[in-house]
Subunit: 884 residues, 2 copies
């Protein structure tokens, strides 16, 4: 690295080129340099590059040749600019030392302020500032911060010594002499912990820089990087900057500001400040910060009132920065005796709602283009727009972690059964339904709860799929909890949580927290989102449908912009009470006639449900998947349930038990389900098809445009589809003839088994459309089941073998090969074929990007993911254009 | 079909070319024409072609233009050759009408004899033959046969009328007048059943021909064709032949002969005959046939003694036919007043033993080449050479049908538990172990039984795999039976079969029969097989290894010619009593130290077992698969077992139950097993690897050449293999260093998940070898589990959707694509890689042919299938040469 520069002054005439600046100078350093270049008031300073940090770790924490010299020169430059001298006992130059990686991350050392103070210079500072209390307070801060972050002396030692000294008084109560005495006491703590506080300012600076470098490799930072897929060799920069003081009396202060509201996205300065304080006081929580202005009604003395000139200057600077960065900024500033100084600018964190509002506003303000607006918003952020969240800064007493299954946060009292959820609902108490795992009988209880927590199951388990369909927060596969129903509690680790206790779950992070946490309700009516998504639809080529099973779900999906139903699961139609009883009669019937009679009772129920769907989706296609789960799911399994159901059916419990045993399976996922039921028990499929076309005939006579698409699940053999297509067409034609109605319909195949993908050319001959069922396909390609992967997946994640569940994030490398091959061969076998995806990956941006490259026609996902999918489809199309 | 000839005389100068003859004339017609051409004594006749039959079905059972005319000409030709006239009342020409498809099949009409007799010609026949009894007996036969097979009048009507007439006498007791009276009574039966017997010989002939055609499409024939994969449009030929009479007194007779013994293959005429009888008497069982000669000690008057001239002529003809056909022939003949006439020659059916003996003898006789000998024997036939079978002709009282899982027949008393099997063994009673399904605890009981029958499970279920490994007959997935252990019986349909009742199973057909059936024990010492297989090895390029887990299995495999172990499953090593207890302690251990201690107890047991294997396989590679099944298989599941095991481990039953529940899985096949256990609990794999290399070090110091190959199961991610390779190499190197031994070893991967095949290039980087686990791969590609497919597969088979289980017969179309792709990419990723197959398909000829075309290095199968695989590998190589 001969010739490498290790340090750049903020006003360096030869800064790294703009596109490399953040990588080399870190985010903070780049921002400070840029603001300096814009002529904004930034205290002078310089940045040690990330490359210095990388070198440091590659060479046993040594400094590269030249760095010490460059540092000396940089400090001299600072002295020249400020007219002060580092270590000058009369009027010392003081500096802050701050980390600043290219991407900010927790665990990194933040700040050491007031470097350069010692027993001698503190006196000079007191004289120069005319404020001895301030000088000693600044020294006190350095001694404490240095001890904490550089020496790694537990903060508690300083806290205890300070508390003993204060004996109940506050720091403000102290005289300057007392402050000096306190500081001397804290200097003793250093000695008590083994080493005296270094009096040499050069040594302070060197040690502080090393500490920043080292913090880049703290366990916490490493962990964060591995969970985020950030490489470990990017390094952090170090910013050394002349101090300005917000604690120089009543005309001084410090604060943070967002250029737009980070919760709602509404334009206008948003933030808080503290009079007579240094930076860490704002975040430490020892004093309560005040609002900057009265745009938000939070009370307190606003900066606008207290220091109108500084405030106006801040507003002016905000405008300049937004114009420059073309995005909402997060600012740090200090006011020293009435003069405003900028200490940081960076792109501000924001909620999904704010993200959308901001880009839509920036487009209308003419700052960015629609395409840029689309690209600026992460698709997954949209899922949060309509959900409650836990606001930033609220403390999270996490008691367990599971898999995030459906985003949004929910708080409520623990219930363990659907019946308890019902009771809580009737008492108007919010509840969280806690189950080992859910089954179709729990659906009503899930509807009535605020959120769902399960001990077992993966991201495509029943609970997860249903909760996403309902738009309800859900955490699954939480193996940290043990549910003990007999005692009406669950253990989170060793902590018992009883029925009726408050808990909060975060379906975005998978966290389970004790108590009732503050919630931030959805902030927007979705107007900005609708605008953004309309732009998205203009550029996207994949269309987005929804997975919806009922009229209300379909209505929600249509409202969120779905252009059809890509998957209606018909299982739930058999779980409706009357239908379930009839289904059970069908399953224990011993002759075809009783079986037929039982199915006849199911027909009108299903017809009504299909009619609802068709009406809601007037003019749009509705893809209906014939029965998919194994038949034993419709029979009870526990002994007591068997007795009860047997009684209700009027058969001997032994007979029912025998039938249950008969239908039970070693591996139900790979069992007698899907088209296999259609082949062995064609009357079940025939009944469903009749219900579909009777409903279609009925509704189309009402003037509704019905476009039914009948889909056969779990096809492995072309001959299966050929046979089932025959059954569908024959039944459909008979029903339509009976009703004197003509309408167009399609018959297609799920492609969810590897064999169907491999033989897609032969399957396609019998199909009007394919719908890739990427959930099952992923399970078969990996050979693991969603219900069981919780046993080993956490280890795989921890070891970095598989950073994300392929059920949540599409496996383009493996499963993708089969989808690609299935698409190509499907088109070879039938050039007219329509191709879609209806697995969970229909709402996964990674999947959508991949499906776009294959030129598929549509994706289908749960209603609440439709916005995500529409935006992801636009991203895919834009990336395509950019690549082309 | 203008210009098509529909009829060929046996001596036609323009017969179809030899390679089309069987297709056009059927097997029987081709044989008769060929014998005629050889100058052998064949009564003159002609053949209606299969093409006529096909035309018949394509045109609503009409005759093609020209057929009637050709028939008239052919009959005239016959009249000219015989000097008799069809329908001549003084000396009538009589003919037989017989079916003769290209492939013989059940359900086809066999024969109508004596066509041409009527009330008038019977008198002429009586005069011309000088035997009125004979003439009326012949007419009686025609009336009955024609009624039965042409008119489809139930044979019972004739039987009843005849029995009433005989009133206890035999037919031989009747006078000629009485025979005439009986015949007239039987003619009445025709009228009673609605239609008079046709007196016109031309009409008789036309109707008989139509009946043969129609029988080609009988339900039974169609069913047979669909199960055998024979198309339904090949048609049958019809042979019309001048009658010769074996029932013309004591110098006449009829019989069947094999040119070699069809059970043993020993050379020499083998068969039986009846004096003064027509063909159907031999098979009808009303009289007991006599042996042809005294080569077999069966008693009775031999043809050789009774009619030495005719016998010598038959011996002469046998020689001519074997020379011509170069194979063992199955002959039918009739002797009319001392003159021998040949009525049929065809390739004879034979046991596996005979098939091998015959081709080996034919080679030594210089009749065929070694290559031809190899091609003549079906590989699967070899599996039967060493097993007992139920002889041809023994009646099979089938009470249930399951899946054929391990060939050979077994008879014994029903036992339901391993303990009962033990008791029966101690009483020296043969037993059949009947289980719902088997588990590793049943292995001892399986060893002691003659055969195994399970109600559940597929062809790769535990019972099936273990039984094949033991070479023991086994029927699985027999859903026709319901086991009721509490009552000590099972139901086969409605038939109860109690503990101690005799049953017989046929593991080749899947049949379960009541009672103790006659068994044919293996007929050979395998000497001929060894000769044949040595020739096979000379031409094969795939080498054959065996799946063997223990020293004795390995010894058997080596004896049968295995060139290594391709799969040693290590599960059983954990089921050994002491190991199991330790394993359970390991599983409930709560800290790493107790876990380590428990594993330390397993180590020496496994080391001993590996040492046994290595010693037996001295100089040959031994591939050892690390633990594959899920851990919960090592824990008890039933409440009573949990209590017992908890007591033996000294823990609370609740704690053990909790651990069992914790490990239980929704879909164990896709659960926490294989490499996933290696990743999450590396100490288990490390213990196994240590045991392997300690054993290897020990044994190699004894002078044994040890070639261990460690195989990682269920790999889906290249990173899994990379990590496990690290663990294996590190452990192996440490152990070898400790023992001061150096040896070569390999580390490889099972390729049994689609993802591993799709990413084989990346997996191969970490692998010295791949072994395709086609069982799991097939399950994943089809998305069904071997344990559950019994629920729907029979319907799939019945409907012709999937004629054979892809677990038994390799799916070249679907699974084959992944094996091909995995091989190609594996070689691309690592050109040195060795490729093998260790699934059940390693012993499946279809699979072996496919694996040969991919150029794999070896297949591995159960020891008793090694001969099958060796021969199949030779077939594949020969087919390759022929194609090249």
């Amino acid at each position: 690295m001969a010739g490498t520069r290790w340090i750049y002054a903020f006003d360096d005439p030869a800064l790294p080129p703009p596109d490399a600046r953040k990588r080399i100078l870190g985010g903070k350093g780049a921002g400070l340099s840029s603001m300096t270049a814009m002529g904004l008031p930034v205290p002078p300073g310089f940045t040690l590059t990330t490359e210095a940090c990388v070198w440091f770790f590659e060479h046993a924490q040594a400094w590269p040749d030249g760095l010490a010299g460059e540092l000396q020169a940089a400090v001299s430059g600072l002295e020249a600019r400020t007219g002060k001298t580092f270590g000058d006992p009369s009027d010392p130059l003081l500096v802050s030392v701050r980390s600043g990686a290219p991407v900010s991350m927790p665990g990194m050392m933040e700040t050491v302020l007031n470097v350069g103070l010692n027993d001698a210079t503190v006196v000079g500072l007191a004289e120069a500032s005319g404020d001895a209390w301030f000088a000693w307070d600044s020294y006190r801060r350095l001694v404490t911060m240095f001890g904490d972050v550089v020496r790694e002396i537990s903060f508690a030692w300083f806290g205890r010594a300070q508390d003993a000294f204060l004996a109940g008084r506050s720091l403000q109560d102290l005289s300057a002499d007392e402050m000096a005495a306190l500081t001397r006491r804290l200097l003793q703590v250093h000695e008590e912990q083994g080493e005296a506080f270094p009096q040499d300012p050069q040594v302070q600076l060197k040690l502080a820089i090393d500490a920043v470098f080292r913090s880049y490799n703290s366990a916490k930072a490493r962990y964060y990087r591995s969970t985020q897929g950030i490489p470990h060799d990017t390094g952090t920069a170090v910013n050394v900057q002349a101090m300005v003081f917000g604690n120089l009396g009543p005309t001084s202060g410090t604060g943070v500001a967002f250029t737009r509201n980070p919760k709602t996205g509404v334009a206008g300065l948003f933030g808080e400040w503290l009079r007579n304080a240094q930076g860490e006081d704002v975040v430490a929580g020892t004093r309560t910060p005040q609002p900057l202005n009265d745009l938000e009604a939070e009370g307190g003395e606003t900066l606008q009132e207290a220091m109108p000139a500084a405030y106006d200057e801040l507003v002016r600077i905000q405008g300049i920065l937004e114009q420059h960065y073309r995005d909402m900024q997060d600012l740090e500033f200090t006011i020293e005796r009435g003069t405003l100084w900028m200490l940081q600018t960076r792109s501000g964190k924001r909620t999904g709602t704010a993200a959308v509002q901001i880009v839509v506003d920036l487009v209308s303000e003419g700052v960015i283009s629609r395409e840029e607006a689309l690209q600026r918003v992460e698709p997954k952020a949209l899922e949060m727009v309509l959900r409650p969240i836990i606001p930033e800064g609220v403390e999270r007493p996490v008691i367990a972690r599971g898999l995030p299954a459906s985003p949004g946060a929910a708080t409520g009292k623990v219930v363990f059964t659907p019946a308890e959820a019902q009771e809580a609902f009737e008492r108007s108490e919010p509840s969280i339904l806690v189950r080992i795992e859910t089954s179709p009988e729990d659906i009503q209880g899930m509807t009535l709860s605020q959120g769902i927590l399960t001990a077992r199951g993966g991201q495509t388990s029943h609970a997860a799929v249903v909760a996403r369909g309902m738009g309800k927060p859900c955490v699954v596969g939480c193996s940290d909890i043990q549910v003990d129903l007999s005692r009406g509690l669950f253990y989170a680790g060793d902590t018992p949580v009883r029925r009726g206790d408050w808990v909060t779950i975060d379906g975005q992070t998978g966290e389970v927290m004790s108590g009732k946490l503050e919630m931030l309700e959805p902030q927007a009516d979705g107007g900005a989102m609708a605008t953004l998504l309309a732009w998205a639809d203009d550029v996207a080529s994949l269309s987005v449908r929804a997975n919806a099973d009922t009229g209300p779900d379909a209505a929600k999906a249509r409202q969120l912009g779905a252009l059809g139903i890509g998957l209606c699961r018909t299982e739930h139609m058999f779980f409706q009470e009357e239908a379930l009883a009839a289904m059970r009669r069908m399953l224990i019937a011993e002759d075809p006639r009783s079986r037929q009679l039982a199915l006849r009772d199911i027909l009108p129920i299903q017809r009504g449900m299909f009619a609802d769907l068709f009406r809601v989706m007037d003019g749009l296609p509705v893809t209906i998947r014939l029965l998919d789960p194994p038949l034993h799911e419709f029979l009870p399994h526990k002994d007591e349930d068997v007795s009860e159901v047997a009684a209700s059916l009027g058969v001997q419990p032994e007979r029912l038990r025998a039938r249950v045993d008969d239908l039970s399976e070693a591996n139900p996922m790979m069992g007698h389900r899907g088209v296999r039921v259609g082949i062995t028990t064609p009357e079940v499929y025939a009944t469903q098809v009749r219900a579909i076309f009777e409903a279609a005939a009925l509704v189309s006579r009402e003037g509704v445009v019905v476009l039914p698409e009948v889909m056969i699940p779990l096809v492995a053999l072309p001959a299966e589809l050929e046979r089932m297509r025959g059954l569908v067409v024959e039944t459909a034609e008979r029903v339509l003839t009976e009703h004197g109605v003509t309408l167009k319909y399609k018959v297609g195949s799920m492609i969810e088994l590897p064999r169907a993908a491999l033989l897609a050319d032969s399957v396609a001959v019998h199909a009007d459309f394919f719908s890739f069922g990427t959930n099952d396909l992923t399970q078969m390609v990996f050979g693991f089941s969603r219900d069981d992967m919780g046993k080993f997946f956490p280890d795989y994640q921890r070891l970095g073998l598989l950073p994300e569940s392929p059920l949540a994030t599409f496996d383009t490398e493996g499963v993708g090969q089969l989808v690609k091959l299935g698409s190509e061969r499907g088109r070879a076998g039938n050039p007219q074929i329509k191709l879609g995806v209806c697995g969970e990956h229909g709402g996964d941006p990674v999947g959508i990007a991949f499906f776009h490259t294959l030129g598929l026609d549509y994706v289908s996902c749960s209603p609440y993911r439709v916005p995500v999918a529409r935006l992801a489809a636009a991203h895919a199309a834009l990336a395509d254009r950019a690549g082309a």
